[in-house]
Symmetry: C2
Subunit: 405 residues, 2 copies
């Protein structure tokens, strides 16, 4: 089949299609992994050995046997029982009082973000996000015609003073500004956690300028130091849409996430989700519901947090020992360390060379930036790599940096 049909060429939308830089890299890594051993810091996933897969199979055995409709559709918005469990979860783990009517179950947090973009973004709308931000949200929302405006991030998260100034300027220029997208805890790729003051300030800004905030809470449950309330906790006006995910603790492959929002927003998201994919996978919904109801989530999460904190420390020590002159953070949450190389090199070229020469995979941070400031930065993941491979991988990273210096 060789067609590039007129129908295909005709679509102006095709111009917006960019292959995800991460996914392209992942394909390359797997191709190379087939021929030799690769130490990969490129993932954004939990360690498969931390996921209690045998427990899951016991639970699935039970639900498939007991629940007659476990392999039929659920309501679009998710199983009533799971929505209730998630509402309880929001209170217990996030200090957010909500009800099942405010919860909509999605195919991972990603789908919630996609549906919000599909619903709210008209071509030409301005969307404010952190610079850097999560590249998949950027690509997905640009497809809907969003103009992305980035605001810098420091150790306390996004600079909300600057963010307010940007909103003011855009509005004074007559631009439509609707959405702010933020990853307040364990930022991907910056690895930082937003301070409480800034969280409150961002919610105030949303109220003052009549904006909606999409709070990507994917990493909220991997916190190694301190404890943080989500933006939704400070929100009294329904201006924050909380996008939750079980991916980073229970497993990315289950594809169970949710959003928590005003019931008006839930209703309209539901109306577009139904025709687009009916519902989230039902055996996976039942699995997550049982994990929550039987009080198993706590222990799964505790084990993950302990394991990843240890791996993070191993990586920090190795960086301190083998990588001189680079700038990097010590993440209090999430899965990532953002590292600015001490040499002036394009991070995509660097990542390629590191993979080719030393069989170490990292993600170039460049595609996560809206400007050139991330040109020489890379993203390091410490959760999926084997603990005993971290030092070796970081040592090689240091070697390449010295060669390029």
């Amino acid at each position: 089949m060789v067609l590039m049909s007129a129908a295909y060429k005709f679509s102006y939308r095709v111009n917006f299609v960019k292959p995800s830089p991460i996914r392209t890299l992942v394909s390359k890594i797997s191709a190379i992994s087939a021929t030799r051993k690769v130490v990969s810091f490129a993932a954004g996933e939990p360690d498969p050995n931390v996921i209690p897969r045998d427990l899951y199979s016991t639970i699935l055995g039970k639900v498939l046997h007991e629940e007659a409709k476990s392999c039929n559709y659920s309501p679009t918005e998710g199983l009533p029982s799971l929505r209730k469990s998630i509402a309880d979860f929001m209170w217990r783990y996030e200090g957010v009082k909500t009800s099942e009517d405010n919860v909509l179950v999605t195919v991972g947090g990603s789908q919630a973000i996609d549906l919000l973009g599909k619903l709210f973004i008209d071509p030409g709308d301005h969307v404010i996000l952190e610079n850097p931000s999560y590249v998949n949200t950027m690509v997905d929302w640009e497809f809907y015609g969003a103009r992305l405006v980035g605001v810098g991030v420091d150790a306390e998260g996004v600079d909300t003073q600057n963010l307010e100034a940007v909103v003011k300027r855009l509005l004074s220029e007559g631009r439509r500004v609707k959405l702010v997208y933020t990853i307040p805890t364990g930022h991907n790729p910056a690895g930082v956690v937003m301070s409480e003051d800034r969280r409150k300030h961002l919610v105030e800004i949303a109220s003052r300028y009549d904006l909606l905030v999409v709070e990507d809470a994917a990493y909220n449950h991997l916190v190694y130091e301190g404890s943080y309330k989500p933006l939704s906790h400070y929100d009294k006006e329904g201006r924050v849409v909380y996008v939750g995910s079980f991916s980073k603790v229970l497993g990315t492959g289950l594809r169970i996430g949710w959003l928590n929002a005003s019931s008006e927003i839930v209703e309209v998201v539901k109306a577009i989700k139904g025709p687009s994919d009916m519902c989230a996978p039902v055996p996976m919904q039942l699995l997550v519901d049982r994990v929550l109801r039987e009080g198993l989530y706590d222990q799964i999460k505790r084990r993950a947090v302990e394991e990843y904190a240890r791996k993070r420390d191993t990586m920090m020590s190795a960086l301190d020992e083998y990588v001189q002159g680079a700038v990097y953070n010590r993440p209090r949450g999430g899965m990532f360390i953002l590292l600015k190389l001490p040499v002036d090199v394009d991070s995509e070229v660097f990542a390629d060379r590191l993979l080719e020469k030393y069989s170490v995979a990292v993600v170039p941070a460049k595609p996560f930036y809206l400007d050139d400031s991330g040109r020489s930065s890379i993203r390091l993941n410490f959760t999926m790599v084997k603990a005993d491979e971290i030092e070796d991988g970081i040592k090689k990273l240091g070697l390449l940096i010295r060669e390029l210096a």
Copy 2:
């Protein structure tokens, strides 16, 4: 939370959001079912008792134990092993020679249809479909700005002579016509199967006028009489995108479907799928892959086809006995009988009254039509209802018709 924020009101897209008429009905049916017994002909799903759930739990136990990454992401396009199994399936069951590079695994067939709309439809594009057609595709594609143009259906499927005339007229008026959407086998809601001649003709039309055909093959594997090749079988130019689904045989809740298309189309769909939901649920991908590889699909399908053929016959006999003057088809495939009431009544009013008075649920066919011709038609499902409830439900349907005559 009470907000209707500016961001919400601003979006012109919100004007395109219509709650799915089927999903609204389903909510109503479940509310009533909580207080009294309802005989439901409203579903579009397999019988839960025909789905081998205990077999699934044995397989899931194995894959979760054996496959270390069973709960992590798969590639966006699906597990390589499943893509290969599906390519083999396409040859074995559909007579379509293809390869894994032409297969992309999706969250049910629905997601494939949504992604194709997202990719190909620019606002104002004309899309040709059967009248009636599947309401979810209509709602989903309208959201992307499609103008839907319907072509009538008879016992041989869509009238392709008429379809060609419509395409010609639109093109001569300077309209952009890109896509044709069709459900050739076990049409939803019409219940008909397209003849071989018309299949060939439709593929010719696509070639002649440079169109893409989206072939919704959801019901291709529930065929009770005859055997039919998909449009893709006749396609030599990659003009047909085959949308497959395991929902109707293996279970709608698994959310595993796929598309088979030219590798150019697969690449670009993959590029937009990645950021929107990463991948289809991985334990479910592994389950389906094992079912196919271990040769279990045949027996599951055989049992489903036998069971549903019997139920169809029960429903046909009951209709012949209790419902006089109505027009309905004897479906050779799929899950539905489309019935034109012998009384001039709005099918939504009729369905409401039947549910309220007799606790029998049917789907009004009106929302599946682009004009008023389905005003007095209803859709009856014979697969999910219990066999021993069919006669009673149809008897009550006949009663209400007589009351309204």
